[in-house]
């Protein structure tokens, strides 16, 4: 598999953040985010971003407090960053969430960057300064997995890399007529109206296709599924992944909190967590995905020993099909790409980018070349601002 640029150094270390005013002649200053900044950051967010899952200001304030101050991985030397302009106003922000990982059995620290925002009147160099300060922090690995195109360009311009494979998405159609027609309907009121009109017909067409057989039929796979909780995931993950070079630490008790936050994300429906057992009752893996109505389920995480990937995917697709979904989609993990392709998923490069950076080339290599378990639960995707 071709690897992207690996382990490039940001060209200059800016020095650690100081609480003192900037002395390099640049206007404003970067400093650590403080709890009392939250109302200003919320106001900035409401100015910069149009979409929020939390329309009411007090809910967004409470969410920032929870995500940046009440998470289980607090590290004083990995703070979120704010840019304070020359008048002392917070006009730039980069959220940082530390995450403990294991690399080749040894603990390392990742820092997840999220919610880069800069007030319109401060645009130019502030985003770059925030990213530079972040990438030169003490973490072993820097991550951001819902980056838009401007954020990608900025990240790369200060020495970061893109994992192109992780920036691909996969989709498995379960009710193809409905799904493809729904995709085709996006892009205009007339097309949408045509889709709504044809929808009953498409439902019949999908049902007919299922009865006729072929690849569209969803048979119950061998084995079984059951509810999955954080304790089982934490206890089982090391055995499932085996000698995988890089993986998250779930054994520290943080996973229950993380899953609660993920369940709080409502954009894609309700979070469904299922453990998969093989025909002999042995644990094969699990899947976590969001499902809502007859739309597209979004996968948060799939895990399996390598020999169990096919079974876990089959159970996922069957579960989603029984739940009425038209399709299931997720982010490509290099270790799963072959099995996803074998199970008639298609791949495309749309949506957010996964940005990565590490001064340790071996860590970058592990991520890009499939020796890492870095799901949407390890980045920022699970967040819901």
């Amino acid at each position: 598999m071709p690897c992207e640029r690996l382990g490039r150094e940001p060209t200059t270390a800016p020095g650690r953040l100081s609480e003192a005013p900037a002395t390099d002649g640049e206007p404003g200053r970067l400093r650590s985010f403080r709890r009392e900044d939250i109302p200003e950051v919320v106001a900035l967010r409401q100015q910069v971003f149009q979409f929020s899952e939390r329309e009411r200001t007090e809910r967004l304030v409470a969410y920032l407090e929870r995500i940046f101050y009440d998470h289980p991985w607090t590290q004083d030397d990995l703070p979120s960053l704010v840019y304070e302009d020359e008048r002392g106003r917070v006009s730039g922000f980069l959220g940082v969430i530390p995450r403990p990982l294991l690399f080749q059995g040894a603990p390392i620290r990742a820092a997840v960057a999220t919610q880069l925002m800069v007030a319109p009147e401060s645009r130019g160099l502030v985003g770059r300064r925030l990213f530079r300060a972040f990438l030169t922090g003490p973490q072993d690995l820097s991550l951001s997995d819902t980056a838009n195109e401007p954020a990608r360009l900025l990240w790369e311009s200060v020495g970061g890399s893109v994992s192109v494979t992780h920036s691909l998405s996969w989709t498995r159609a379960l009710r193809p007529c409905r799904h493809y027609a729904s995709r085709a309907s996006s892009g205009g009121a007339v097309r949408r109206l045509a889709w709504l009109t044809a929808r009953p017909l498409l439902v019949v067409a999908d049902a007919l296709a299922t009865r006729l057989g072929g690849s569209l039929v969803q048979h119950a796979p061998p084995g079984s599924t059951e509810p999955l909780d954080a304790a089982v995931m934490a206890a089982t993950l090391p055995r499932l992944l085996g000698p995988r070079a890089l993986r998250p630490v779930y054994e520290d008790g943080s996973l229950a909190w993380l899953l609660d936050q993920a369940a709080d994300k409502r954009q894609f429906g309700e979070l469904r967590q299922r453990l998969v057992r093989g025909p002999g009752g042995e644990v094969t893996g699990w899947f976590l995905y969001y499902r809502e109505g007859g739309g597209v389920g979004q996968v948060l995480q799939v895990a399996a020993r390598r020999s169990g990937q096919a079974l876990v995917l089959r159970h996922l697709f069957y579960d989603a099909w029984r739940g009425g979904l038209a399709a299931v989609a997720g982010r490509v993990e290099p270790a799963w790409a072959a099995e996803l392709g074998a199970q008639r998923c298609w791949f495309e490069r749309t949506g957010p980018w996964m940005l990565i950076h590490s001064r340790r080339t071996e860590i970058m290599h592990a991520i890009v070349c499939g020796a890492a378990f870095v799901s949407r639960l390890e980045g920022e995707w699970w967040l819901s601002f």
């Binding site: 319109p120 645009r123 130019g124 160099l125």
Partner: protein
């Protein structure tokens, strides 16, 4: 050949940069007044991505390498600042380390 005699004049740097900014960032706003000391950043002329493009332009147009720590408002904040900064780099004495070797291809 002595670099001091071959580098562009400051006015040429400013003029070429002004033309680049007008063509790439202000093509929808031809009436925008762009004086030598008018701010380029934070005024809606050049945003964060524009800065990346501007740096690439300066490096290509004047055959120089701009280090990360040189990407500052002091050096890039106005056309005049760019003129002074690029002129200084192009006419620096010594090793000429700030000049980028021309690509042969």
């Amino acid at each position: 050949m002595d670099q001091q005699t071959t580098g562009p004049a400051q006015s040429e740097i400013v003029d070429r940069t002004r033309a680049y900014v007008r063509e790439n960032f202000l093509y929808m706003r031809p009436d925008w007044k762009l004086g030598d000391e008018d701010p380029l950043l934070g005024s809606g002329v050049i945003d964060s991505i524009g800065v990346i493009e501007l740096v690439e332009f300066l490096q290509d147009a004047f055959q120089l390498a701009i280090a990360e720590e040189e990407i500052t408002e002091r050096n890039l904040g106005t056309l005049g600042a760019i003129g002074r900064f690029v002129y200084q780099k192009c006419h620096a004495n010594g090793s000429g380390g700030s000049l980028r070797p021309r690509q042969v291809a």
